[in-house]
Structure formats: C-alpha cells, structure tokens
Symmetry: D2
Subunit: 476 residues, 4 copies
C-alpha cells in the first residue's frame, strides 16, 4: 500500500490537464489542496489503530493486504465493514470521503463484465481482473465518471440534436476505441489516479454507441478536467479541522480520447448490459451512501447537541425531540445499509452484491431528509451563524472585550468555546460549501427521484397485490 | 404443540369473567369469535408448509419442538425468524397477530429475573424457568398487561390521589402477594390462557409498591375483563377473509387478586429493575413491531396498487411515486428490525436482546407514518370507499344492473372485482376497525413519543458532540 | 322562508326513488333521519339570533329576505359572510352543513349562463333567472351532481367503451332533452328538493354530448338514488349532539331522464364552456370549503385541547406545539378564503366570483392536512378511543364502579366527563363515520391533486420567471 | 422626501463607529456598498411609476406626502398597501428590503406609548409624535434593535450572572438615562440613520431595569457597531442584478450610552408594557413578513420554473406538482397577511393594528417552509449549482467551446442563458449568502417557535373546547 506522500508525489507528476477559472493548472494548485487532504486521509488511516482491520483487508485475488477502497466485496461481512469504514472516515473529514466511488466502480465492473462474457462470449472479465490486480497493487484511487451532461432531459441519447451529449464511441479500431463526450459533477477527477467511465442509464437498441465503459489514467491525452473546488471557508486565526477538507468536481471532457482494448469493459453490447452496469454501480454507491450519509448526520447531530448544551436548552422537550429525530434519520439510513448487506447476494462472478431495495430506500431516506436536518440545526442555532462578526473582531483589542462579554451563553462555557461552536455552525449553515453539501445530500449518488424509479421497477408489488386480493376475496 | 381446537376447547371451559356491554359473558360470545380466529391461526400455521421452520423451533430448555411464540431468543437468527414469521402471519390475518405479546413478555422476564437474582440474591430466574417450561409444554398464549390506567399524567404513581391508579402490591403474605389496580388496552386478555403483568414505567424509591410483575391464569379469581371487541364490518353476502379477523381489548381489573410466590417475578425491588423490565419488554415488543407493521404496510401497498390498476392510473408518475413511498416506509421499518437483530447482544442469562436504538427508530418510523399511509390509500382510492352503496343494492335486481354498469373502471376488470376491491377499501378506510387500526399504529407497542424518550436516553449523543468538537477545534 | 317542518313535510311527500340496501324506501326511512337533521338546521338557524344577518340576506333579484344558501353573491362582503356562516353552522352539526352545494351551483350557473348567451346568443341566463326566482321564493335545497362515474380514468368521455360513463345527452327534442348516465358521491341527493347536474371536467370538441347542465326535482321520473348513509355511531344511553347528525351520498342514476328546456342550462355548446362551468362551480365550492374545513378543524382543536386538559398534559411543550399547529392549519385555510373574497372579481353577469388561486391554495392546504390533524388528535388521545368499554359497562352495577374508578385522569374532572370526552374521541377517530369524514376531507370539493392542476393552469408562473430572469441578467 | 444620494451623503458623513474584521471603518467601506444599494432602492422607487401610490402616501400627522416606510398605518388599506409594496420591492432586490424594520418600530411605539400614558399618566405619546414628525420630515431610515444577546437561555434577564446580557438602564438622570448592553443580529444598523431600541420579551416585576425603549442616532457616542456583511457572490464577468444587493448585521453595543428624555419611550414601567411593546413590534414585523417572504418564494418559484423549462422537464407531473406546492406556500403566507389586515383593529391611539393570529400563522408557515422551498429548487436544479465551473472557464478560449457545447439543455435555449440560469441557482443554493437567507427565513422576524408561543397565548382555545364539549354533551 502507498503512503499519502507517495500518492501526492505521483499526483504532482501528472500531466497538466486541470483547468480552473480560465487557467491550466497543476495538481499542486492551492485550490486543490483541501480536497487532496481528504484523499490523503484514506492512505494515512491505514496506520491508525482505530481503523485496523477496517480500512485494510485481504485481496481475494492475491491474498495480499490491500486498502479496502480497492477491494472486491465477497460477503455480507465485507459490505458491513465497508459501510462502517466509510461512516468513521467521513466523520474525520467532515463529510464525503470520496474514494468509495472508484471502489464501487470496480465492484460493479467485476459483476457485469462476467455477465457480459456469459452472454456474448467476450473476455471482459479477464481484462478486468488484470486491471484489478494493477489497481490493487498500485493502491490506486479512481473517480467514477457516470453522469453524462444529458442535454434535453426529455430526449434519449440518440434523439439529442448534438449526438455528443452522452459519451459515445465515435470510432472502433483494432487496438481500441475513440470516445467523445463529457461527464459532469465528477468529484475527485482532478486528484485521482484513474477515471473509470460508466454509462449513466439504460440504453436502447438505438443507443448502442453510448453503451461504453472504460478506465483511463486521469491525465491521459484527450482528457480535460474543467474543475470547480468547493473549499471550506478559510480560517484566518481560529484554526479547526473543519477548515482542512474540501472537494472538487470536474466537467470531464473526453476529446476524441483513445482507449486501448485492455481498458475497455463495455463496447456497444446490446441491452440490458449498459443499464445493468449503470444500476449495479449505482447500487454499490447507494450502499456506500448508507455509510457516509449517517456520518454527515452524526456531525449535524453533534453540532445540534453542542449548541443546545451551550445555550442552556439541552433539556427542553422540543430540543430532545429534534435530536431524537436527527438520530432516527441517521440510524434508519444506516440500518438500511445493514439490511442491504444481510440480504445481499453473490453474483455469478463471486462478487457479493448488496440488496437493491434496502440500499435504495436507505439512500432515498437520506436524500429526502438532508435539507430538513440542516433546518433543525438552523432552528437550534438561532441567527448567529449568519450574523457572527468576523474573526478579526474577536482579536482586535477594541472589540474583543465586547464580543467575549456578549457572546456568553451558559456562564460555565467560556466565550472561546461558544465562538468556536458558532464558527463551525456558520461553516455548516452559511458558507458556500454548506450549500454544496446540502445539494450533494440530495443528488450525490442518485437523487430520491432516481431511487423511486428503481424501487418502482424492482419492488414486488404483485406479491403485495396478492395479499390485498386474498383479503378482498378476489380470485386471480 | 396444541391444535387450535384444543386451544379453543380450553378457552370455552374457562371461568366466566369477561364483561361486554353490561353482561357477564362466556368466551364463546360471538363478539369474540373473530378475535379468536386470529389466535387459532397461530396454532394452525404449524401445519402450513410455508411456515415450516418459521413458526416452530426447538426449545433451548428442553430441545423439544415448540411454537416460536413460546420461544426464548438465543441469537440473531432467532430474532430474524421471529420478525419474518410475524410479517407473514399478519399478512394472512389482515393485521396484528397478537400472540407476540406473551412471547415478548417471557423473553423480557428471562433477562431481568436473572439480573434481579444477581443483584438481590433472589430466585426469580429459577421460578421463571419453571413457569417457562410449563408455558412451552402447554403451548400457552399470554396477554402482556403493561399499560396502567395512570390517572393524572403529570403525577408519578405514588403522587396520585387514588393510590390504585397503577397496579400495586397491597399485601405481602408468606405464600404470595395481593395486588390491586387495573391495566387497560390489553389486547387478547379475553381469549388468552394467561395474563403476564409487567410494570409500565421507571419506578422511583417512593414507588416500590408499584414494582411488581407476575403471571396469572386469565380467569383467576379476582381478575375481571371488561372487554371491547373491534370486529371487522360484517359482510352480508360478499364473503372475504378481511371479514374473518378482529381483536378485542380489555380493561383488566385486579381486584385484590392473590398471586402465589411461584408466579411472582418482581416484588418491590429497588430501582432500576421495574424500569428495566418495562423497557426490556417494550424493546422486544418494538422489535416485533418491525415485523407486524410492515405487514400492515404490505396490505396498504397491495390495496393501493390494486385500486390504481383497476382505475387505469397505475403508470401515472404521482401514483408510482406514492407506491414507492409506501414501499420505503415498509422496508425501512423492516430494515431497522434486521439491524436490531444483527446488532443485538446476549444478556447475562443467555437470552439474546435486540439492539435498542434500531428497534426504537424502526417502531417510531412506523408510528409516525401510519396515518400518512392511510392518507395515500385514501388519495388513490377516491371517494367511493365512503359512498359505496350497501351490499343489498348490488344484489337487488332493480339496482344491480345500474351498479354493475356504472362501477366499471377499466373495461377489462369485471364489476364484481371492482366492487370487491372497493368493499375492502371501505373496510380499510371507513370502518370502525380501520380507525382502531390507525390508532393502534400510532400507540400500539409504544407511541413515537415513547420511542423518542428511549432514543434520547440511550443514544450516544456525547460521541456525536465529540465529532463536532473535533471539527470545531474545541478541546474537552 | 320555509320552516324545517315545511321542508320535511315536502320531503316526505316526494315520490319514492331512494334505494337502500336492496329496498326502495321513503325519505322517512330512519337511516336518513340524521342527515335530514343537518338540513333542518339550515332552516332553524334563521330564527337563531346568533345567525342574524348571517344566514339571511336580501335577494338581489327581488330584494326580499332570503336564506343565504339561496343567494347570489354580489360583493366581497357576501363571500365573507357566506364563509363565516358555513364555519359557524358546521360547528353546530359536527361537520359538513351540505346545503352550500346547491348555493355554489346556482352561483356558478349565474356566471356561466350569462357568458354562454354572450357567446352563442342563447337565452340561458333568462331561463336561469326564472329558475332562481322560484328557487329563492320556495327556499329550496339542491344537491349539485357533478362527479361522473368516469370509467377508465386514463380515457376521455368519448373514448370510454361504454359511452354512458359520463352523463350525456342521448336525444334532443323540441321541448327538452333526454339524458343518460350516473353521478356518484352525491351528498344530500336523497333529501334535497332539487338536483342540479353540472359537467365534471373540461370537454373537448369530441365530447359535446357530455356538455350538459340542468336542474331536476330530486324525485323526477327517471331519477334513481342508490343511497348510502353515513350515520354517527348510535348512542344507547349517553346522549350527545355528536350522535344527531349524519350525511348520505347517492349514486344518482339518470335513466333516460327527460328535462324540459326551461331547466336546461348547457346543451352541447362548444368548448370551453363545459369546463368553465365545472371550474366555476368548483371554485365556489372550494371557497365554501374554506369555511367548513376550519369548522372541522375547530372540532379537532377543541377535542384535542379538552383531552389534553383532562389528562393533565395541557401545559406540556409538545402539546402546546401540536395545538398551535392545528390552529395554524385552520386559520391558514380560513385566511385563504378571506383573501379569495378580497381579491375576487365581478363577472359580466354581476355575480361576484372568488379569486381562483386563494380558493385553491386554501382548499389544497385543508385536504393535505386532514389526516395529519386526525393523527394529532390520536396522538394526544392515546389508545382509549379504540379500546373504550361499551356503554353498557358504564351502567351495569357490576362494572360501573371499576370503570369510574379507573378511568379517572385529573382528580378534579369527574369520571362521567372523562367518559363523555373519550366517547366523543372514539366517534371522531374509531367509527365508520370518522373514516368517511377523513376521506371527505381529502376528496370533498376536489382533492389536492385537483387543486394543483388548477393552480398549475392559472398561476402566473411567467411573471415569476421574469423576476428570476431579471435577477439572473437574462434578457427575454 | 430624500433622494438616495442625499441618504448616502448623510451616511458618509456619520461618525465612524462601524467595526469590520478588526478595523474601524467608515460607512463608505466597500463591504457595505451592496447593502446600501438595498436602502437606496427604497428612495429611488418613489420615482418609479409602478410604485406610484404604493411607496408614497400621506402622513396622518402633517398630510404631507411621505415615504410609506415612515408611515403610521391607519386602516386595512394601509396594511394591504404596505404588504404589497414590500413584496414588489423585495422582488427587485432579490430579498429583504430591510427598511420595514424601522417602520414597524414606529408603528408599535405609536400604539404602546399611548397606552403607557393612559396607564401611568406619562407623556410618551407626545414625545413620540414629535419624534415621528422629525422622522417623517427627514425621511429617515431606522434599524429596530430588539434581539438581546440573552446569555443563558434558561434564565430570565435578572437571573443572568452578568446583568448586562439584556440591555438595561444603569442610571436614571434628570435629563435622560444611561443604558448598557448589546443587541445582536441587527440588520442595517450600520447604514441606518437611527437605531430604535425595543425590549425583546415580556419582563417581570424583577426585570424592570430591562423595560426600556428609545431612539438614538446610529453614530451616537456610546454606540458601536460590530458588523458582518453578507454580500452576494461577486461576479467577475457575468454581471447580473442578483449580485448588486446584500445585507449587513451588527452586534450593536450600547456602552453606557446616554439617551435624552425626549427620545426615551419606555423607562422601567411595570408589566405588561415591555412585553406588549415587544409583541406589538413583532406583530407588525410578522405582518411585513407576509409581504417579503412571498417575494422570496416568488424568486424561488421563478428560478424553479425557469430551470425546469430550460432542462425540458416543465411539463412533467412531478415538476408541476412541486411548482404548485411552491406557489401554495407563497400565496398562503400572502393570504394570511391579507386576512390579518382585514381582521385588524384600531388601537386607542388611532393606529391600525394587524390581527395577531393571522400574522402569526402566516409568518410561521413561511418559516416552516423555507428550507423545503430551497430543497425543491435544489431537486429541480440537479447538481450543477454546486459543480458549475468558474466564470473564467466560460471565457477562456481553451475551455469555452467545451462548456458551451456541453452545458446545452433544450436545443432552443442558448448556452449563455443556461449558464446565467445556473449561475443564479448557484448563488441561490451554494453561496454564503444563500445559507444566510435560509437562516433568515427561519429566524428573521421571529422563528416558528416564537409564533407558536404567540398563537398558544392568544388563540381562543376555550371557544373551541366549548364546541367539542357541546358535541360531547359535556356541560360546563
């Protein structure tokens, strides 16, 4: 396994293909540093005794110890451990740990490439295993590039006026393929080793050029990463871990990019395989979400409980009820992840797949509640997160005495703690990154509407109708 | 194991102590027949191949095959099986299977009597095991009598003007105790073999007379059961299983009732044991609820999907979204039960105890959603469940042709099916028992407010505050 | 104006055409008595000093004093008075006052018949005025028959396999028309003087036979009323006004019914007039709903506050918050009615029309909250409404002492008051009529989905987009 | 009336007492410019024909034309006009128009100073009228400083360890009083002419030193304004009005400030007058909120409808339903304001006071829905507001072609419009000011919890209980 230094070293040596605000920049651009800190954490935690056996495991391929973020799940236990690792790691970085994306992508490929081979006599699975071995050995990080830009949302890929609005194969060569298009909202693309491109939806017979999946080094010729960083609000004086972590998303442009055959994992095969791959990735990712979303809730719960304590209202009935509600959201989502692992099944390739319904009801519950969770935090915090004076005023000798006198809540909580608490709340509620977090809570990993579509498609409503018909005395 | 005939035979031989609408009646009163049908089901299913290994298991005491409703849970598997059995059985009877109450009571006693002995050197656990052996061997059913009448809700037991408003020990004798008081809302008391009385809440040092638990035959001298039956709306012509099952609740009066020592399981011991027993029973019962509540949802889902199909609106976006929401409620509650079983722990007596947080967030989610589930069903059904003509009009030669013509929805669904469907919906939405079901969905097994209290008391908010403090840079 | 005795006398003389449970019955059938009580109230209140100037007004036609339920609204004040009258009257009868239907129907006809004449040179308005004069002079009651049976909900009227699934003109004669079809959910049809038939939706050019409106005596040859009564749960001993009032809905069959020209108000005219009439009636009716729905909420609020007081929990934070929420629902709906009256406009016939948006957001808010209001009442009431012993047990000398002892809550509230309170709650939550009330709260007068369609169609979204475009710097 | 230039000129001449980030700054500090733009608008609109008769009116004191923001309301019409003016003006500035605060403060003083005189024989009302004349003539702007810092929320003012945690009178002199303390969250204090200080809550007999109200020039000796500006996200290239407006809040420090008698309007008088003044101001301000909050909703509705149109999903059922919901929230709040004006009453001083219940249910509905409104916008917008590339990348020749190609939605909407739309959405959802707006939506003008307290205190629950008792047959 790599150290975080080795990860960063490789990163800094990559070809420049990141664009930020009109400039072509290196991966050492300071606007990316906070995001890279998150990724570093996933390497550093390998040394942390609290993550022993959690962030490391044995490769089913080589039996060597690997980072769990490069692991193929083989049983319920694996999924439970992944979920737990994600919750704990996200708690430390104040939000999304990001690296699960690549992990979820390789798991989905391990399931579907095998099934493709069964159906078409291809050799995708063999290719994949070779790629996997390289991936695990090199302890790589990968961004999963799934979401196409999609153009007019009422039209299918082949119906768009501009055919490039979904990533597509523009040419098949002997040694590989040429692809064109763009994926957007791709978190960590600008500081990942690899980009794994997957289809974003079901494809029909008319959309075959859009049925494509592949892996590519993130700095390959033809890849351009137009990147937006969501950084924490900077601290001038009052240092705090919350200000150390961020994330950056890229518009990933594939400008007639060449992919050699050994890195192509789906290439124009007929339905339903593009859709299956899309859904299988989404499924793993939604299961990951049952780990990270409770971590976000944990932070909201903690901040809510803390500000209630400092204000002297922790024992009020309405406060207790709100805290219980937050805890319920968090634990229902986590419970859905556990149930998804317990009810999961082994696919034909031997990879263990979480249960669809539980993963989807869990992710949906998270997505439907995130704004309300922030609302509860806002409710308990009062207006100060929005109106908190600047850090400088807490330092200046002219204003400091006033602020230290008047920011006091309970007499036994010193002014600095109150200040720190509200500075955190201000970051959590009234910063650019707080808005992005809430939005990510709705849409990251598939929005509630997407989960409803999956639930509608896969839930056994016929069985339930039978129950009702039986009670009604209706014969089939 | 008994047959349902044997169960009923014993029932009919019991001493008359059931009062209904001003009369002292036998247990063969027709108003109880629909409720008894539910209990019969729990005996009959032993023969049903679909319940093989589900409704039967081996006693950990005697290794003999027993009905799972008399079983002490020993591991995660036991809890998962109990949950599954309850969901399936409730589906067949259109709601609450009832018999889980006694099962949950003996499980709670198996945990707390052991702990009492550890604390006080008593012999409650030995007594309990003897009772358990009898209970399993005789394949008994028991009502758990927990909810006291409670008088003024703002006062503790010892503060009430009338000291009998919580069940209490009025005399301790050598050979047993005399108890007085009443429990209400006690489902199945009027057709159970036994009544197991448990404390309803935490008791303080001043409430020691109220710290009492015992088992008593349901027709013992001194027990009076003032009973209200909630029966399905009767069908005059259109027979259907929904009309076969009901439930009946009793005001259980203990009128200076004598309990011999061997049936006393808590008798004035100091805190916190009354509270622990109350909570442990509630915990098992809430876990049971994660099985029965999804069954109720299943019926609502099925009826919703069916009426949408018949009306020709099954593929409308808003309908699909509502069905997905119903499925989500059901499966989140079920997932919480699975997680509670997975995260459960073995108590010192060897009995396996479900996890508190998951059981409570699951039960709370159910209780908070039940009215909304009925609302969705009402929304999809339209007004006909309320305005459906009487059965007679569907039979009379003068009106039948009109109704069969005008009740038609989709041309391929015959009028009788539509009629049957709306008759079921009318029962589910506009009958006395539908209202009672909704109320039971809120309060049965502890209302959401009760779960919030438990969550507030047991959730590790300090741990979450630490997460927030760490991010804020606040040192302890 | 008539007395209630005169109203009933006329009713009892009507031709038998009411069918209940397979029998042809007179309007003196005891199952209709409770419903007739409601209608009687609308005559009796004319003598009530508290309704002075509220339930009576002057006819704009004859300047004579008339019952407001027969009045054509001429200004804001009229609408405010109608709304107030409805709220107060509904409070006295425990729910829907019913007679507003006919009033809303004549108001809609007064607007649209005038506009039809403007468009087509017909004489509908003159006909209508003549009918109105008769209606006011005779102090009539009318059921508005709007909702067609509609068959397959995914098809328009002309697409149905059976063409009669919407009421239609089967023949036009010189002296009148023959109509066929059925309307359902028609409250008070079985005890109204008249039935006013209106279209249920927009009609296209292909649906012209379905564009029809007329008035007919409720016992006319060719009208058959298959009727379902929703009666309060009967009281055996404990008399209470809640048990005095009910409602009954009919499947109204028009079996090749002849309507003379002077009672025909729309007859195959081209779009959009059928739709306009449908919507104008719905608009008046939704405005009426902003009066009756707050009355239902008032009862729920009162019952909630009362049971909280009796239980000794009235000052708990969560209780106060729930009561405040109930009050908010009620008053927001009422406020929407006021705003609808203030923002209303005079139509070309001189009739004053409530504002569409406010009436619809008000009705929608009511419909979306009714189940939740019952849920709050259920929450505060606890389980006793479902498990309350029978009346007889409160009387029998054997059980009465127990129940009077153990039903006690606060020591200063006598057992009988507690009993009466819970008997009311049981009626409100666990009776057949409570379910029907909730369903009526969702669907009566147009369900939330219908209001959303109206809002979507009429709200000025373009104006709002302009606001957003301006801020975004987007030029048109 | 002043021009906006005159307003700014006076502002820039004020004594330096604004502190920002450790510096003492002038009111010409660029960080205040966007906030001052809002205030300028309230002067400029006087010339706008669309605001004719809306933003100007006649003083009841001098009969001269004045800015409505300095007007004392005399009837329903006045309140309706104020509400309408606020909604329209807020639409132009993208949010809070701010100047209503001072207007609401003088209205509250006009009511309560009169009542104080009636009770105590004081001359506050005379003082107030003199101040009002000056205020109207000079066309002043005032910040209302109500919210005390409050220390431990579980303690009353006199119980706090530091007695200064609520603003208090530290000395009464012949010619005036000395006050000490701090108010926080005081919007516009740093760019108002005047600060009007009002009590924040009910005061008991023990809190008399805290019963104080007065007006003071914003730059008086002893006033210090520690100020935080919430500015829109700056635009580098893509200019848009949304980026022109902001707001700034101050910690207002009263450091042993002297107030001459003629500016003191409450000075230690016994209960309930401090509370009445607090509530009357809150009441006017909540009524103002029924104007500004619908304006915020209008912007959210417009942005939602616009992005739905651009994405090609405007006609989807779920989109229409969400838009209808947004419109419903907006119009219910506005309707509550109308009803509050219609049901208002003339106080003894002749000032017209909005109805308490309607103003409070309106404000509460707004506060309870604001996060959900942003959630709907987020739902419809997708992830792009969070991941939108920087402005520079839309300009740079290297990246512009990619972004213009791939940001396309519907083929007939040019890339720049799409870009502008998402830039607005990014400002509305993912900027520091968006978070502050949401928080202000919850807490500004009193949070939902505060409204519930008011509703609980003033709603006629006894009347509702009577309705329930009547139906139950319970005699008083």
């Amino acid at each position: 396994m790599r150290t975080s230094e080795e990860y960063v070293e490789k990163l800094y040596e990559m070809k420049k293909n990141v664009y930020m605000d009109g400039e072509l920049v290196g991966r050492d651009d300071p606007r990316l540093a906070k995001s890279i800190n998150v990724m570093r954490k996933t390497f550093d935690l390998v040394e942390d005794p609290k993550f022993k056996g959690l962030i490391t495991t044995l490769s089913h391929l080589t039996s060597e110890e690997i980072n769990r973020f490069t692991h193929i799940n083989r049983d319920t236990e694996d999924l439970l451990n992944k979920q737990k690792m994600i919750r704990k790691a996200c708690g430390l970085t104040g939000g999304c740990i990001q690296r699960c994306m690549g992990c979820d992508a390789i798991n989905a490929l391990s399931v579907i490439t095998y099934e493709l081979d069964q159906a078409f006599g291809t050799e995708y699975y063999k290719r994949f295993l070779k790629y996997l071995e390289y991936f695990q050995k090199s302890d790589l990080t990968a961004a999963a590039a799934q979401t196409d830009v999609k153009g007019d949302r009422s039209l299918r890929p082949f119906q768009q006026k501009d055919p490039d609005l979904y990533v597509r194969i523009v040419e098949k060569r002997k040694d590989g393929i040429i692809v064109r298009g763009a994926k957007n909202h791709i978190t960590m693309a600008a500081y990942a080793d690899e980009i794994i491109c997957l289809p974003t939806r079901m494809m029909t017979e008319k959309d075959l050029d859009y049925s494509v999946a592949f892996a590519v080094p993130a700095d390959a010729e033809g890849v351009k990463l137009i990147t937006h960083a969501t950084n924490p609000r900077p601290r001038k004086m009052l240092e705090a871990p919350v200000a150390d972590f961020g994330f950056a998303d890229s518009f990933v442009i594939f400008d007639d990019l060449f992919i050699p055959n050994e890195r192509v994992f789906l290439c124009g095969e007929a339905p339903p395989f593009a859709g299956l791959l899309a859904h299988t990735f989404a499924l793993y990712h939604r299961h990951s979400y049952t780990g990270c979303k409770p971590a976000v809730s944990d932070i909201i719960i903690g901040a809510s409980a803390l500000v209630a304590e400092y204000q002297g209202i922790a024992d009020k009935t309405h406060v207790r009820s709100k805290l219980a509600h937050l805890a319920s959201v968090s634990e229902l989502v986590y419970a859905a992840g556990i149930a998804s692992a317990v009810a999961g099944q082994t696919s034909s390739s031997g990879t263990f797949v979480p249960d669809t319904i539980y993963a989807n009801v869990g992710r949906r519950h998270a997505g439907m509640n995130i704004y309300h969770e922030f609302e509860i935090l806002a409710d308990l915090a009062g207006g100060l997160p929005a109106t908190l004076p600047y850090e400088g005023d807490f330092v200046s000798s002219e204003t400091r005495p006033y602020l230290e006198k008047y920011i006091m809540r309970r007499a036994d909580v010193p002014a600095e703690k109150v200040h720190r608490c509200f500075r955190l709340l201000s970051d959590m509620l009234c910063s650019a990154s707080s808005g992005a977090s809430a939005l990510a809570g709705v849409h990251g990993g598939g929005s509630p509407v997407m989960e409803e579509i999956l639930i509608t498609a896969t839930y056994d409503f016929e069985e339930k109708k039978k129950v009702a018909k039986h009670l009604a005395g209706i014969e089939e």
